[in-house]
């Protein structure tokens, strides 16, 4: 039994998408914290 090509492909593409979204989320959180004066 082997991992299928589609499983491996989806896993890798999904990982790259999640990391990209995480960058955007972190930037959005920073802006929100600065606006609400809750950075520190």
């Amino acid at each position: 039994m082997y991992f299928t090509e589609s499983f491996v492909s989806v896993m890798i593409i999904f990982a790259l998408i999640v990391i990209s979204v995480a960058v955007i989320v972190l930037l959005a959180l920073l802006i929100t914290d600065i606006k609400n004066k809750k950075l520190w």
């Binding site: 991992f3 896993m11 790259l16 999640v18 972190l26 920073l30 520190w40």
Partner: protein, 481 residues
């Protein structure tokens, strides 16, 4: 990969940036609460980023590809299970903050919950682990600078340790957390850039077919050793996060209302990174790259695909992943030694100025000791890191049970840690590194549960609030004077 001149320029630019930012943020550290815990008011953005960046170590970016190369798809998944440490620590972070509003270290908890003997054993394990992690980071720094830019091993390792020591000394946790934010963005952006570049160079179809033909074992769904590695890594990760003051200090530092959320977000952000890093390694065969050292496969592939620009990106990613962990380790281990050993055991009447001075000396001493141990290359990164696994795994149950279960007691905690560590070490040498944490955690769990059943405690949670919740008053008395 890049010329030593480019390497020196990059190294210099990043070093100056972190030190300047450390000095800038460090101006906020006007008290011990500020220096050690960034004022206990860190917001969600900085909280999430610091947890995530600290957990992305050079081991993530070097060992995850090595795992993928040696254990295949299961290896990538095994490394990803490290995220469960952060995800499962999230509720603990909230509980820690509510039970110990004025706490400083994980040692504080063990001392108040289980007493002096368990506390001392815990400190030995925790400091040993922190130091082992620090050494593996220092060594990785030297190896990477040498492999990517041709900078001599000792020089690269020395500069990384010196820069992190510098800004940690100036700014304490303010500097650590502030720089972690920028470092986390560089790490994630860099991994995505390299991942996409690799996909542009070689399609997933070719990678899969190359593996299926030449290394089918890496795609097998049933690989006993790799599946053991999944559980071992999961438990190692849990143990690392549950006991280490690196994570406890952040639980104390992040605002109480967002601590849990920060750990959950960081866990989900970290989860895909070993998969992306592992994928980069798996493409090495299809790209025709000759891998001479498995822990260098990530940088090799990136440089091969992106050329000089790729090597620059990889250099920045590795420097950030190293710095974000080395600074945290220096700060958290120094806090543990200052608070638990110096203040609690040696000089309880020390004022804040004295404590700050001692803390600075300890940061310097730790860095110097790590530098001395790193001078010769001891072994592979996995060997160094996983040697601490059994002891780390054996702390999971004493910590988790101690936070939620009144019946958990000192007997169970101390014997759980001792028996778990010894059994785990025996497994490390007889069965393999991939069983060590698993054995340590399992034995410790049995001991903690059996002792709680036969010698039940009835712990009063209020005893954990050493300062009786008067954090504001305590904080004001912690201003340096």
């Amino acid at each position: 990969m890049i010329s030593p001149e480019t390497g020196w320029i990059l190294l210099g630019a990043l070093s100056v940036l972190w030190i300047l930012l450390g000095i800038y943020w460090g101006r906020k550290a006007k008290s011990m609460d500020g220096f050690m815990l960034a004022g206990r008011n860190v917001g969600l953005a900085f909280g999430t980023a610091t947890v995530m960046a600290t957990w992305v170590t050079s081991n993530t970016t070097m060992l995850a590809p090595q795992f993928a190369l040696e254990l295949g798809v299961w290896g990538m998944l095994a490394y990803s299970t490290g995220a469960f440490g952060l995800l499962l620590f999230a509720p603990l972070a909230r509980r820690i903050r509510s039970l110990m509003p004025g706490g400083y270290t994980s040692g504080d908890f063990i001392r108040l919950r289980y007493g002096k003997a368990t506390w001392i054993l815990f400190l030995v394990i925790s400091i040993f682990y922190g130091f082992t992690w620090l050494i593996s980071m220092g060594m990785a720094g030297g190896i990477l600078m040498n492999a990517i830019a041709g900078i001599p091993y000792v020089t690269g390792m020395t500069i990384i340790l010196a820069v992190c020591t510098g800004y940690t000394l100036f700014g304490g946790l303010y500097a650590v957390i502030g720089t972690d934010y920028i470092q986390s963005l560089i790490i994630m952006a860099g991994i995505v850039i390299v991942g996409i570049a690799v996909m542009n160079q070689v399609d997933l179809d070719s990678v899969y077919n190359h593996l299926r033909t030449n290394k089918p074992m890496l795609l097998k769904t049933l690989q006993p050793a790799a599946m053991m590695a999944v559980f071992n890594n999961l438990l190692f990760g849990l143990g690392e996060v549950f006991h280490s003051n690196v994570w406890w200090s952040r639980a104390f530092a992040i605002r109480s209302e967002v601590g849990k959320k920060a750990y959950i977000l960081a866990g989900f952000t970290w989860l895909p990174i070993p998969v992306a890093a592992g994928f980069i390694a798996l493409t090495s065969g299809a790209l025709g790259i000759n891998v001479t050292s498995p822990d260098m496969v990530g940088p090799l592939v990136a440089a091969n695909v992106l050329g000089k620009a790729g090597a620059v990106v990889v250099f920045a990613v590795f420097f950030c992943s190293l710095a974000s962990s080395v600074d945290s380790l220096l700060a958290a281990t120094a806090d543990l030694i200052t608070e638990d050993i110096y203040r609690k055991m040696i000089n309880p009447s020390a004022n804040q100025r004295k404590l700050r001075k001692i803390s600075s000396f300890i940061v310097l001493g730790l860095a110097l000791l790590a530098w001395l141990v790193c001078l010769p290359r001891i072994g592979t990164l996995a060997t160094v890191l996983f040697f601490a696994g059994p002891a780390v795994g054996s702390t999971i149950w004493p910590v988790a049970a101690g936070l939620y279960w009144r019946k958990a007691n000192a007997k169970g905690a101390i014997w759980g840690m001792l028996a778990g560590s010894l059994a785990g070490l025996a497994a490390y040498f007889t069965l393999g590194w991939y069983t060590a944490s698993l054995t340590g955690a399992a034995v410790s769990m049995i001991v903690v549960i059996v002792c709680s059943y036969f010698f039940p405690d009835n712990f009063d949670w209020r005893r954990l609030n050493e300062y009786h919740g008067d954090t504001a008053q305590k904080a004001s008395s912690h201003v340096f004077h």
